[in-house]
């Protein structure tokens, strides 16, 4: 497995961060009191 390009990796980090926080926000607003 080769190491991925750093810029591609940074974009992926940002995307995954946004998706994760959005998923947590969805859980909180859908099920929160």
């Amino acid at each position: 497995m080769s190491s991925p390009n750093v810029r591609t990796t940074l974009v992926r980090v940002l995307l995954i961060q946004i998706i994760t926080l959005a998923a947590l926000w969805y859980v909180q607003t859908r099920y929160g009191a």
Partner: protein, 563 residues
């Protein structure tokens, strides 16, 4: 426990130890032993970084926290991806290109021997003690839940770990970490599946109950410095904490110094940036599902079986009264949990809301009775009675199918062993490279330092096991050392930040470090209401400010001599 569970644990131990030793045959010199000849692939280092950070306390304590407090703890990790990106462009290339063994070694090249020795000594002091507590935390739970003696619990965690770390060095540690991450994540996913299947109501209905009981509240945007877990403390304080931990703590730095190149070292850290928050959310979700599971089952009044026995022996009548009230509250909670689901299925919104409200009220009553019982138990056993760490182990032993309980036990062992191995390996590296080779024996053969590395690993391993065995009696001492450790975490980060500023000089770094530690101590004792996540920010900022001020004001002795 059933013999099949034990078989799973034994197979796991044999697999980890056997394969680690086999892979470490190539470590014939000091660079191979401590840094795997800088040859490891990024994905193995990345998994090793994650396994090191995920300790047994994460598996048994954080899941328990998910059951009692919900998902809010995940905010603690919000700064981690930011920190990883910053480290990827700052400290990682600096340290990797410097071809150092320890992060502190770099500080001597940049500043002076005093700064290197002080930072390395602070690392040895705090990590040496914390290694003991990392063994002690799961060992205490094992001994209480499985009825083992503490000595035996410490031995089953400590002996195999010390063995493969001493023999195999960083190669063994890293490849064991890779396997351990698979065991940990596999067992967590298996538990989630079992829990969802065992819920008597649809998952969606159950999650509505968890939400109503506050267990799915993630974000807290308040600017309250006394609250430990808020969005801002996670994003700002968490970023500084993660920068300190991943950027300056040898137990982490050594993982990525063993990577093949700067790019691979960066990529290994970014793996945590991708997966840490989802993984932590999964760990907490297991706790939330366990809370839901016990909303339909009767949970014990006290989760620690040893305390339960002691309390009932000393005050049986009182605890019978607690039991009577507790049974009523638990039955009410279960009744309204089921009712809410029935009403929801029928589309009766008002009735669903009313049942949910009664479920929440019953849950508060359950918690209040438990708090009372724990308070009384504390008076009897004269020890802390917080029993969050016992929730998941009790659930695993009582309810998980045969084989899966063994897999979870193997996962707890894996989590403990991966953290301990990395710490022993890094403690030995700092002892040999920053002290033995630097101050005592500067010129010796590679074979000599390799032997010294193995002896140092073994000695730290024995020390950690002894500390773990006496953790209960050393409790206050360990707390003091941990508190002391928190004084300098952010301050050491400040020194590394100074190292990247061209005008900063040795005197500024050394005095700045002392000033940073002093200011964190002053805040800890003078303003104890400020959450610890902010301490790292304060420490780092004071070191940089004082360090730069002194670097500019005090004339450089070399320049002065030349003039």
């Amino acid at each position: 426990m059933h013999w099949v569970n034990w078989l799973v644990v034994i197979v796991y131990l044999a697999w980890v130890i056997g394969d680690s030793l086999h892979r470490s045959m190539g470590s014939k010199d000091i660079e191979g032993y401590f840094l795997a000849n800088r040859s490891l692939p990024w994905w193995a280092v990345g998994l090793s970084v994650m396994a090191t950070q995920l300790s047994a306390v994460t598996l048994i304590g954080t899941t328990g926290q998910g059951a009692t407090d919900g998902l809010r703890f995940v905010q603690f990790y919000f700064g981690l991806p930011v920190a990883m990106v910053i480290l990827g462009v700052t400290i990682v290339p600096f340290l990797h290109k410097a071809k150092v063994y320890t992060a502190y070694e770099y500080l001597e090249r940049r500043f002076n021997p005093a700064t290197r020795s002080l930072t390395s000594l602070l690392f040895l002091l705090s990590r040496g003690m914390s290694c003991g507590t990392i063994i002690a935390a799961p060992a205490v739970v094992f001994s209480a839940v499985l009825g083992w003696s503490l000595w035996w619990s410490v031995a089953i965690i400590g002996v195999p770990t010390v063995l493969y770390t001493v023999v195999g060095g960083v190669q063994a540690v890293t490849w064991a970490d890779v396997k351990q991450m698979f065991v940990i994540v596999g067992s967590l996913l298996a538990i989630v599946v079992v829990l969802v299947m065992r819920l008597p109501v649809p998952l969606d209905d159950a999650l509505h109950l968890a939400g109503a009981a506050g267990r799915l509240q993630v974000f807290d945007f308040s600017w309250d410095l006394s609250k430990t877990y808020t969005f801002w403390s996670g994003m700002l304080g968490g970023t500084f904490l993660m920068l300190s931990y991943f950027g300056t703590d040898q137990s982490q730095v050594q993982r990525y110094l063993a990577a093949r190149s700067v790019d691979e070292a960066r990529s290994s850290l970014l793996m945590s940036a991708y997966w840490k928050i989802p993984l932590q959310a999964l760990v907490l979700l297991v706790g939330v599902l366990v809370f839901l599971f016990y909303s339909f089952e009767k949970p014990p009044l006290l989760w620690n079986p040893a305390h339960d026995k002691a309390a009932r022996a000393a005050a049986g009548a009182e605890f019978a009264q607690f039991d009577a009230r507790y049974d009523v509250a638990v039955a009410t909670r279960r009744e309204f949990a089921a009712a809410a689901s029935v009403y929801r299925a029928r589309g009766q919104e008002a009735a669903t809301a009313a049942a949910t409200q009664k479920f929440v009220a019953a849950d508060l009553e359950v918690n209040a009775i438990r708090a009372e019982a724990l308070g009384r138990t504390g008076e009897i056993v004269k020890a802390p009675t917080r029993d969050v760490n016992y929730i998941i182990p009790r659930f695993v032993i009582d309810f998980l199918p045969i084989g899966l309980a063994g897999l979870f036990l193997a996962a707890v062992l894996a989590a403990a062993m991966s953290s301990i191995a990395a710490e022993l390996n890094s403690l030995a590296t700092a002892s040999v490279i920053d002290f033995y080779r630097r101050w005592f024996k500067r010129e010796a053969s590679d074979a000599h330092y390799l032997t010294a590395g193995k002896v140092a690993t073994a000695l730290w391993g024995v020390f950690a096991c002894v500390v773990a065995t006496y953790a209960a009696t050393l409790g206050s001492l360990i707390e003091v050392v941990n508190r002391f450790g928190s004084f300098f975490y952010g301050s050491i980060l400040g020194v590394f930040m100074l190292a990247m500023i061209p005008r900063a000089r040795g005197i500024g770094a050394f005095v700045g470090l002392l000033a940073g530690m002093g200011s964190v101590a002053a805040v800890t004792f003078g303003a104890p209401q400020i959450s610890f996540l902010w301490h790292n920010v304060i420490g780092a900022v004071v070191v940089v400010a004082v360090g730069m001020f002194l670097s500019v004001v005090i004339p450089d002795s070399k320049q002065a001599a030349a003039a």
